[in-house]
């Protein structure tokens, strides 16, 4: 594998679809420095600075009361839908604009890991708050992340934490916290779930202020035994206990491997580092990672954001109808940010390769090709007709076309937008 192929592989996985220019720069730096630059960006992210989170206005739910009329509720619903759509589009735009691609992709990883859906949380403000928490702690050690998440208002609402009280513990959050977020199935017992639920009692969400607060009288202060340790655990102490379990860092490292490297090649045993950035360094440096080239099915968001970046399309610059198409496309592909299908997160691998997803990809590819920036299209058409499939490979950062795809692309060389669309749905592009 050439240096260019090595850095292209790294950037395809670590970020949302690199541009050819980004691969050029990484190739000049060399693989080792390219990884350093990803993990420790040398300059502040101007793209992120230019795309601050949207001012959402007030949370419409905060002004609803028991006396609110049906009309007031409908009005609040409509406002919330509009705010969530704005937030989703902002996030997509940020994914495209950011220069620090590793951080943005990692945020999406954590979103799918602590999979929380606006469908039940019903608040753009709380979803944004959770993203900010995940961003703040995403690269660091697990302890602060878990401690912050057990007090995250969106997660508490999503898993019924606000209904978990001393009198009648609700186990939902405690169970998923161990099964899906930290230890994995088999790493705890039913008794641990019950005791963990008691430790988490007392946290409620004030829907007016959007803040989680602790209510002493709802908390069970008694002695609990969790994972073999006894004490008067509260949420913070329980989170701390989970974070110090060797099983937790190992579990999260396997989850990172699952998303960044896939399932074809087993995860190396010693990936887990003291913090997530260190784990990612070990992951991207491993020889096993190299062997995963060409095997990982892009999740729909990865596919679409990568294409937007490479084709020079900014979601914020699209008109109303095109923005609807963008969100409609993700909906048809079954992956809308802020709306994971369940607390288990999104599927992976061949689950994204069905006939119905291909149809949705074809529709989206047509839309993306139609909105491609003229300057990008010019780079494609600057190549002589016979060289356009190769120019397309460079544009889409595909290492090369197989005979099958080249045969499909060649007849389209004279129709650059169709050529683009075909490239976007090709097996080489869909599976990176």
């Amino acid at each position: 594998m050439s240096d260019r192929e090595a850095v292209a592989h790294l950037l395809r996985r670590a970020t949302f679809g690199p541009t050819a220019d980004e691969v050029d720069a990484a190739e000049r730096a060399g693989p080792a420095a390219a990884l350093d630059n990803l993990l420790t960006p040398v300059r502040p992210d101007r793209g992120a600075a230019a795309t601050p989170p949207p001012a959402l206005g007030t949370d419409p739910y905060a002004r609803l009361t028991g006396e609110s009329t049906r009309e007031q509720r409908q009005q609040a619903n409509a406002e919330r839908r509009e705010q969530l759509q704005r937030l989703t589009l902002w996030w997509l735009d940020r994914m495209v604009a950011a220069e620090d691609g590793l951080t943005e992709k990692l945020l999406f990883f954590w979103h799918g890991h602590w999979a929380t859906s606006a469908q039940k949380v019903r608040s753009a403000h709380l979803m944004l708050g959770q993203l900010e928490t995940l961003r703040r702690h995403g690269r660091g050690p697990l302890g602060p992340l878990i401690a912050a998440m057990v007090r995250d208002p969106a997660l508490i609402l999503w898993l019924d934490g606000q209904k978990n009280t001393r009198k009648a513990p609700n186990e939902n959050l405690a169970r998923e916290l161990m099964e899906l977020f930290t230890l994995g199935i088999g790493g705890y017992t039913e008794a641990d779930v019950k005791a963990g639920a008691r430790a988490l009692t007392g946290w409620v969400v004030d829907r007016r202020s959007g803040v989680a607060r602790f209510e002493t009288r709802r908390h069970d202060p008694g002695e609990k035994t969790i994972l073999g340790r006894s004490g008067r655990f509260d949420a913070e102490a329980y989170a701390g206990l989970l974070a110090t379990q060797p099983a937790a860092v190992a579990f999260v490292a396997r989850r990172l491997w699952f998303r960044y490297a896939g399932t074809d090649v087993p995860a190396p045993a010693d990936l887990a580092g003291a913090d997530t950035a260190t784990t990612l360094r070990a992951l991207f440096s491993s020889t096993a990672f190299v062997a995963t080239r060409g095997t990982l099915v892009k999740q729909p968001v990865e596919w679409m954001v990568g294409a937007l970046r490479q084709l020079g399309i900014r979601p914020s610059a699209l008109n109303e109808q095109q923005r609807k198409q963008l969100l409609g496309g993700l909906n048809a592909l079954d992956q809308v940010p802020l709306r994971p299908p369940s607390v288990g997160g999104w599927p992976a691998g061949a689950a994204w390769l069905t006939t119905s997803s291909l149809q949705a990809r074809l529709r989206m590819a047509g839309m993306l090709a139609a909105t491609t920036a003229p300057a990008v299209l010019a780079r494609l058409t600057a190549a002589p007709t016979a060289g356009r499939p190769d120019a397309l490979a460079r544009l889409l950062v595909v290492d090369g076309w197989g005979a099958r795809t080249r045969a499909a692309l060649t007849p389209l060389a004279g129709e650059p937008r169709k050529l683009l669309a075909a490239g976007l749905v090709s097996p080489e592009y869909t599976v990176s």
Partner: protein, 413 residues
Amino acid sequence: MDTLTRRRFLLTSGVVGAGALAAGAGAYSLRDLLDTAGDRDPQSRTLVLVTLYGGNDGLNTVIPDGDPAYRAARPELAYPDGEVRRLDDDFGLNPALAGLHQRWSGGGLAIVRGVGYPKPDRSHFRSMDIWHTAQPDRPGNTGWLGRWLDLAGGDPRLAVSFEPALPPLLAGARSAGAAVPVTDRKAARGLPAETLAALAAAEAGESAARGRAAACFADLRSVDEMIRQVRDSADADAADPDGEQAPATATGGGRTPLDAQLDLVAQCVEAGVSTRVFSVSLGGFDTHADEKQLQAVLLGQLDRALTGFADRMSRTEAGRKVVVAVYSEFGRRVRANASDGTDHGTASDMLLLGAGVRGGWHGAAPSLTDLDDGDLKYTTDFRDVYATLLERVLDTDPGPVLADWRGRLAGLF
């Protein structure tokens, strides 16, 4: 295989095993099914398996309101006297199950009580794996009906899912059932047919995933055809995703409305397709909080879909050979939590209706007071029911499918 990668919600379709991938799960269209019309022995029966994802609360479905312990455990959540639809002196059905209640009165509904398995697992994902694989000790990579399909010759059209993704229960070791999508609206256009045909070619040395990506193009033509035949479900898709009719819980489940899935089953059965097993599902039963209203909405959907389907099936010869079985991965805790909901429990009821099913009670009702750590003790092993269905509906020796399981549910047929 990594326990994580076996999970339904991370894997949904196709990834249930290399064999399933190679067999091209998801590659079949309704036309492929309808093309088999007339291929089957007219005497053979059909099994329709209805999975309720999320853990349906059995005690508020078939309600033991004759037992004072029921109200004592669930003061707010219990249905008051007079609201329950009476089955006998001690039990009643949830008020939302009007149609099923009518069938019960006519002897057309069987209720198997206290169905579960030893050492219950309260994780949705693990417990659903157990029900899918029928391997409580260590759920493997194959589903029980997938193993049946292996024995039956492996033609994917024998076992069909109208869910958005292939459920693990239809994945065998050497073959896999077909997942036929029903939510597509318009066929894709924009690229010439020749391009799509060219992209369908296999490429030597390519990864399995890229091979699968290419195979999707091969399937597209038949899907195009299917879309012209299948009732467009665009209206259902266009509904407000947060609307009151779409209860939100965190454990997933089929997005396609159950009645749309059952409509397709009905169409296939009436056409006499070769399919012997259909898998359909309804999700959203994870009612940790404010359960009553949410569950009633879902049970209402279930009731309308099931009774509409059963009525339609009763009108044709082929339809009268269909058996419907309804289950969920577990029931819920006997005692309500403080959120007017219930946490994950264990044993629950299965409902069966259709051809030759003997209506009424089967199995013993679990005690509400002699509990296993707050949960019902199961009285019927779910493999007894599976074995009976294999034997009596699919005419198959359950031994090779269910690891020589000996139990049967006597008197069900």
